[in-house]
Symmetry: C2
Subunit: 479 residues, 2 copies
């Protein structure tokens, strides 16, 4: 049995290594703030430090873990750092890490109910918990994808394939004079995943029309109506609208109720991308911002963004799950089962294999409780508002977008020309990020360079935001 | 700072829980064989045992872990069990679990090099290790997807979008009289993920033609040529062929060299689905089975199938990575970076967010070494051949397909009619799976029900295969 050439690593060695890893992870979380947030590695550093050919012989686990500690951990950008304020702040919280570790040990594939009853039922349950937390009506059915890109893609795939009379699933789109150009609508501020879905689904970039936004970066519902009428007049066939509740650059919210009314009238699928900001809807006081969401055909919320769950965990809630199954269910002989009335997760998208992602989300919701999750989100929003106040009070700076959630968009507004201002902001960003304690990102709004502070990590406290602001002011004095 | 309503769970509690989880995972792997492989849960059992509404208040980690132990672990089908011989046997090996746990603690998103230098470079490195192990020539570039379904989908997306003159990415497929019907080819035995890719990409089920197979379930290359000529004559445009090296039902290998020659002549993208069997190509003696694979445009191999890496880990190797980027790269303002010449993994598919999956694969390859991985694969193939011999020697049974790798397809051939034989095989399967020590699955070949024994778990030894065979013989005496 103990043939060293076969089987897994010896049980005692594995157990000891798991305890070593438990400490490595715990140490990391306790000391992550000692690292610069943004990696200082130069391109090629890590690869050059490792052998270009795979090892012929087994290596001891301790040696591998030592290399991890020496080479991997220090050469990363630290998303779990309290100073990570770029893109969207995320957290792999303790309870989520525990869940992910247990899931790795189980290594189930939740493609069919019978291959993972507890994983399937926990995914049904915990996505329904989330539905309740968001205040969505009964009837929505949830499942977990890896990313919002995939959630949006499968939702728009369902929208495409239910178009009456076209039989897109069966007959495709190519070489068919009977199929008009199909069109999806999203605001200019929508996430690039919508563009990628349009490409993948065969609608092309031309099949996605970008609706203009108002001064607060929200979709102009009147412009949407005009575009729909124009497109119909030109013989194009609108099929879906993607409304964003919390855009990536500014976290603006499209007017969901107005868009939902248009979609209802025009019989369009309404997909709401609430990947980041949807988590705020669990707080009753922020729920009104999302009014209209309850009319959506599909809603994506990523607990791996702002609900403290390790990547990957993107929940897609769908009002008519049969539409998803009609688009994607396909049961080959080798996957036929005879259980009746059960969920088989493979029916809800293109991926057959499914990790046990519900476990970590279940542990996060239980460990913090709905009340604890609300408090943490409120805290982040409060910190962002405080920072907004500091920036507004500072000469030479401007806040360039409303702050409905935990992201502040601002710029240094000094400089003779727009280009000079942009260059100053880029220099400011580089200087702040080079300092170490924080990592911010940038975007472009109305053609001008804009900096973003995104607060969303559990470890981020007021002192970290104050440090970010001090570094920004200091760098501004120099650039 | 220690506000219980904010932040993560307290550090000391987390560390203690991580050690508890280390033991839970180690205990599980040591005792997994005590469970029946196939879950005995009834539909609804797990969900009914848990509250239908999310908890308002935080719960202690110990209580959650106790529920995990009581409710979740026992109500799963055990993919890490030595008696798991259904579908394809897989293993979440110790080294892989360590890697997955460390990745969960880091919680990086490897979308851009700058957001995860070590994760990006390790993914470049370790997929190149795998390329070398498979004997593929230099020049192939690898990245890791979640599943083979996604790997095949993005490869076929690249094939579609590089079609000259059509500008599919920009203009889509719908409403274009200038676009002919596009066609992909795969054998009748190809995986359902190819059908799903055809649906998703807007080619439709009609855009995937199923090529007949020979007596050994291999694509008939002559039939492929005939279909290509027919389709061209009818004005359809062939774009890609999916050849399978290790089909899901029987692990048959399509004639790669012959198909590659056709693809070269016809300027078609050749995608090789070696998701399961590709791992065997790391053994020199099995490499000749894959001759011709070095002419593929893309190859998918899933280390989470037969290379002892926890789900999810699907490696896609592509000869012209620029084709993938041309199809899928899209850099919005908020993701622009200024590093030159680095890999940004978001450019290689539809998913923006990417987990640090390279870590576990790196640890698996190092912990076992190439030699150790080869020995384990040889062992599995040896066990399958031994089982094949037992079945061939047993009156009333027949082996219904060649056994090139570690899957044996067979049936009980008693019974007056084909239908009666099918029913007997279904009863046999149910009886064997109900016993507890093993879990087998079934498929249908040439209209007849067939049972499969798939050997691929690291813990599976000769005695487990012998147990499976004893249970099969015993049940056959009864049905």
């Amino acid at each position: 049995m103990a043939d060293p050439h076969l089987g897994d690593v010896p049980a005692a060695e594995f157990r000891a290594a798991m305890h070593r890893v438990a400490d490595l992870v715990a140490d990391y979380l306790e000391h992550v703030a000692d690292y610069p947030v943004l990696s200082r590695a130069r391109p090629g550093d890590v690869r050059a430090a490792l052998p270009a050919v795979p090892p012929r012989d087994p290596e001891p686990l301790e040696a591998i873990l030592a290399d991890y500690r020496r080479l991997i951990e220090p050469n990363l950008t630290h998303w779990n750092h309290p100073g990570f304020m770029a893109y969207f702040g995320i957290t792999g919280s303790g309870p989520g890490i525990l869940g992910e570790t247990l899931a790795a040990g189980l290594n189930v594939n939740a493609m069919l109910w019978r291959t993972s009853p507890a994983a399937t039922e926990l995914e049904d349950l915990v996505t329904d918990w989330l539905r309740q937390m968001l205040g969505l009506p009964e009837g929505y059915r949830g499942h977990i994808n890896d990313t919002a890109s995939v959630s949006t893609f499968v939702a728009l795939g369902a929208a495409r394939d239910r178009t009456p009379g076209l039989e897109v699933r069966e007959r495709g789109l190519a070489g068919r004079p009977d199929v008009p150009p199909l069109v999806i609508y999203a605001s200019e501020q929508a996430h690039s995943s919508v563009d990628k879905a349009a490409i993948a689904l065969g609608l092309g970039i031309a099949g996605l029309r970008k609706v203009p936004v108002d001064a607060a970066f929200r979709m102009d519902a009147g412009a949407l109506e005009t575009m729909l009428a124009e497109d119909r007049a030109r013989g194009r066939l609108p099929i879906a609208v993607v409304a964003t509740a919390g855009t990536t650059s500014t976290t603006s919210l499209d007017p969901l109720a107005a868009i939902a009314a248009i979609c209802r009238r025009e019989a369009l699928w309404l997909h709401v991308d609430a990947a980041y900001a949807g988590s705020a809807a669990i707080c009753p006081e922020f729920r009104p911002l999302f009014d209209g969401i309850e009319a959506a055909d599909s809603v994506v919320v990523n607990p791996h963004k702002w609900l403290f769950t390790p990547v990957d965990c993107s929940v897609l809630l769908v009002r008519e799950p049969a539409a998803l199954r009609a688009a994607f269910s396909l049961v080959p002989e080798y996957l036929r089962t005879d259980e009746e009335g059960v969920t088989n997760l493979m029916d809800y998208g293109i991926q057959l294999g499914r990790r046990f992602r519900a476990l970590k989300l279940w542990m996060v919701i239980r460990a913090f409780g709905v009340r604890g999750l609300r408090d943490r989100i409120r805290h982040h929003i409060g910190l962002a508002r405080e920072l907004e106040g500091w920036i507004r009070a500072e000469p030479g700076f401007e806040v360039v977008a409303p702050v409905p959630f935990s992201v502040v968009c601002f710029r240094l507004a000094r400089g003779a020309t727009g280009e000079a201002q942009d260059a100053a902001n880029d220099r400011l960003l580089a200087a702040v990020n080079a300092a170490g304690p924080v990592f911010l990102s940038a975007t472009t709004l109305r053609g001008r360079r804009v900096l973003r502070v995104a607060i969303g990590n559990l470890r981020t406290r007021r002192e970290h935001v104050a440090t970010a602001w001090a570094l920004i002011r200091e760098a501004a004095a120099r650039v």
